[in-house]
């Protein structure tokens, strides 16, 4: 146990150049490529529209949905506040029930632990349950580099793995692929697949079942992630649909679970909240088909050798930020991706990270940093949002993603030194804080009329406004500002006439003077209180 003298040291981010928490180009450039892919746009549009409707139906039918969100948010916040004691308790309980707990400071260390454990079993293959943590640390690549073959068993992960592709969604990694593309991938890459295979989703699922059946029966080691780890009892949980999770968690001799330290829950009872929030938010189902709960090792049932790897990899760096820490509350449901207008157009690859979409834009920079190298692509992520707020409304644990984005933008500008943008912002503020300078600037803006065409529109603007004028006309500034009108004879006359209209109608009825207590309704509802309707 370390003790502190003075200010404690700031925990490190995920080491630069490791894992999958950084793309190789900034978001706008990556988005440019993805936006040009019409097939991708259609696939994403169809899928996100389907899931949005389903989610609203099943969240709307619970009268206590908002109370569940409040509880979920508070449980996660409470867990973060008490993380050291909860992790120690989890470790103790898992150990008491016959499991072994390992700690990993970063992805490379976790990869080495898993590889060592697999090698110790003598197996050169592992079956894998879909897991964000192992994707984040690049476990598959590491296992392959030491001669161990990982088999992804989730249908979407299998599609991604067979196509040597990257996941583009937290829940449905192959959301960017449609049925025709998936059929082709299976025909090309699954040994012995029926050449008559068509594009019916049920038939494609059956082909995956047949291919993986033998792996499930024969492979001795499985690797999983965890949705929740309960400190009170040492119970771990995997929430899934296909049964591949049950196969991996049940049939092998050895199970290795890699879990981010933020996944710990204080009490078993807390599951009653998350098992309502998670399935309804992610797949829009009242409950997902299968959830497995296990505690260490159970004699004569399931793997007799169980290892839990607790992963930091930048999580403690996020925890050290009072605002940004809220991103660690994420339960990986992906509801924010499905409602995000930016994600819907660009898809997940544009974010360059295992965690795409709105939550990825706030989580990735915190885990891996925004300024680890010159022109770090992660510094573009907080700007990959119009701040429309749909993600906050959808989040089952009420993470205020728009506010986090604004906070990370601030951190980015603070760390960026003096940039042309900062100078422009300073100049704008310097003008705007002085009303006299401001009115002068308004007059200068009025000069925009000179560059406008005869229809009072400007169709071409110089950088940094060129992207704007590529698809939008700009109206020429008007002759008179509001303040000039208000102070003018014309303005005074107009307002006097309006006042007279009121006095004239005042005798019969009084439409405007009924004062209400300003606080009675509607004012300052905090952002994210709930769905419309």
């Amino acid at each position: 146990m370390s003790t502190f003298l003075g200010m404690p040291a700031r925990p490190p981010r995920s080491p630069y150049g490791t894992g999958n928490l950084r793309g190789d180009e900034p978001f706008p450039r990556a988005a440019h490529r993805e936006l040009g892919n019409g097939q991708l746009r259609r696939n994403l549009g169809k899928a996100t529209t389907t899931i949005r409707t389903k989610r609203l139906n099943v969240t709307g039918e619970l009268p206590d949905w908002e109370a569940l969100r409040d509880a979920g948010s508070a449980i996660k916040t409470d867990a973060m506040n008490r993380l050291p004691e909860l992790l120690e308790q989890l470790e103790r309980k898992v150990t008491e029930h016959g499991g072994t707990v390992h700690w990993a400071r970063d992805g490379a260390e976790a990869n080495e632990i898993v590889a060592r454990l697999v090698k110790a079993t003598g197996s050169s293959e592992v079956i894998k349950v879909k897991s964000m943590a192992t994707q984040e640390i690049g476990l598959n690549e590491h296992l392959e580099s030491v001669g161990i073959t990982p088999y992804e068993t989730d249908l979407a992960e299998l599609i991604v793995q067979l196509a040597h592709d990257k996941p583009s969604h937290i829940l449905v990694p192959a959301i960017h692929r449609n049925r025709d593309e998936i059929r082709q991938i299976f025909l090309d890459r699954i040994p012995g697949v029926d050449p008559e295979l068509d594009n019916v989703p049920a038939h494609l699922a059956a082909a995956a079942r047949a291919y993986l059946r033998e792996k499930f029966m024969a492979t001795k080691v499985a690797v999983s992630g965890a949705n929740f780890g309960v400190a009170e009892t040492g119970t771990l949980s995997v929430v899934e649909s296909e049964g591949n999770g049950r196969m991996c968690l049940t049939l092998p001799d050895t199970l290795i679970t890699v879990m981010g330290i933020e996944k710990v829950l204080p009490r078993y009872q807390d599951l009653e909240v998350f098992l309502q929030l998670l399935p309804r938010s992610s797949t829009g189902e009242r409950m997902n088909p299968y959830t497995s709960l296990w505690t260490g090792v159970t004699p004569d049932d399931g793997p007799q050798d169980f290892h839990l790897v607790l992963l930091d990899n930048g999580r403690t760096a996020a925890l050290a930020d009072a605002v940004g820490r809220a991103a660690l509350n994420c339960i990986r449901c992906s509801a924010c991706l499905n409602v995000c207008p930016v994600y819907e157009r660009t898809g997940g690859h544009a974010y360059g990270s295992t965690y795409p979409g709105p939550i990825g834009a706030v989580l990735t920079p915190q885990l891996a940093g925004m300024h680890a190298a010159d022109d770090d692509p992660n510094s573009s992520l907080p700007y990959a949002s119009s701040l429309c707020g749909a993600c906050f409304d959808a989040c089952p644990v009420k993470i205020d993603i728009p506010s986090l984005l604004v906070e990370l933008r601030h951190q980015n500008t603070e760390q960026s030194g003096t940039t042309p943008e900062k100078l422009a912002m300073r100049a704008a503020a310097a003008v705007m804080k002085r009303p006299a300078l401001y009115t002068g600037a308004q007059k200068a803006a009025g000069l925009g009329r000179l560059v406008a065409g005869r229809d009072r529109t400007i169709s071409r603007l110089p950088p940094p406004f060129a992207g704007w004028s590529d698809s939008r006309d700009t109206e020429a500034p008007p002759r008179q500002t509001f303040r000039a009108w208000f102070a003018s004879d014309e303005g005074r006359a107009a307002l006097r006439a309006a006042a007279d209209e009121h006095d004239g109608s005042h005798a019969e009825h009084d439409p405007g003077d009924g004062r209400h207590d300003p606080g009675d309704e509607g004012h300052d509802h905090s952002h994210g209180e709930g769905e419309k309707k």
């Binding site: 979407a156 049950r246 797949t283 009242r286 049932d301 607790l310």
Partner: protein, 210 residues
Amino acid sequence: MTDARDTVLGRIRAALALAPTPATVVPRRYRTGRVLPDGERLALFTDRLLDYKAEVRPCTADRTAQVVADVLRDHGARRIGVPAGLDPRWLDAYDGDVSPDAADIPAPRLDALDAVVTASAAGCAETGTIFLDGSPDQGRRALSLVPDLHLCVVDLSSVEAGVPEVLARLVPERPTTLISGPSATSDIELERVEGVHGPRTLVVVIRKDV
């Protein structure tokens, strides 16, 4: 290894010291302790199961053996596996081959079974979920997973209204499986398809008077 443990715990303590936040009280204003009459729980549970495309066979306890036999016959199940602790009377009317499970039977042999018949630990009406907890009448987890048809007998008295109510019945340390319909995936265009790796057919026999 010990080193990593101390380092990570030290970082967490440092993070919490750098950004201290006040203690949180968890508001639990969501619905708990709900009690619904038998008829309503049965209707709700059935509705949810059918929504998942599970097959539902309500019956009375004295008809258990007949309904089990009917279901297995209807699905052409000639060889079935059962947990060692299953009530043998449930199979009185079944004329196929019954293999009681044992821990040393390897998974590929379970794959050769047409069906498995188990009891259950509890149910949740609002979500249509069945809970198995590895008790002797439910068996080890592999048994209810590998065969392609799972016939699960659920007593209505064990079906609670909602998730909080049913979780309170569970023993945390037991290996617990929550089952809501047959195995399914939404991985292709987010369209739900029933039947992937788990049992592709789930039949729930609900005993209304137990």
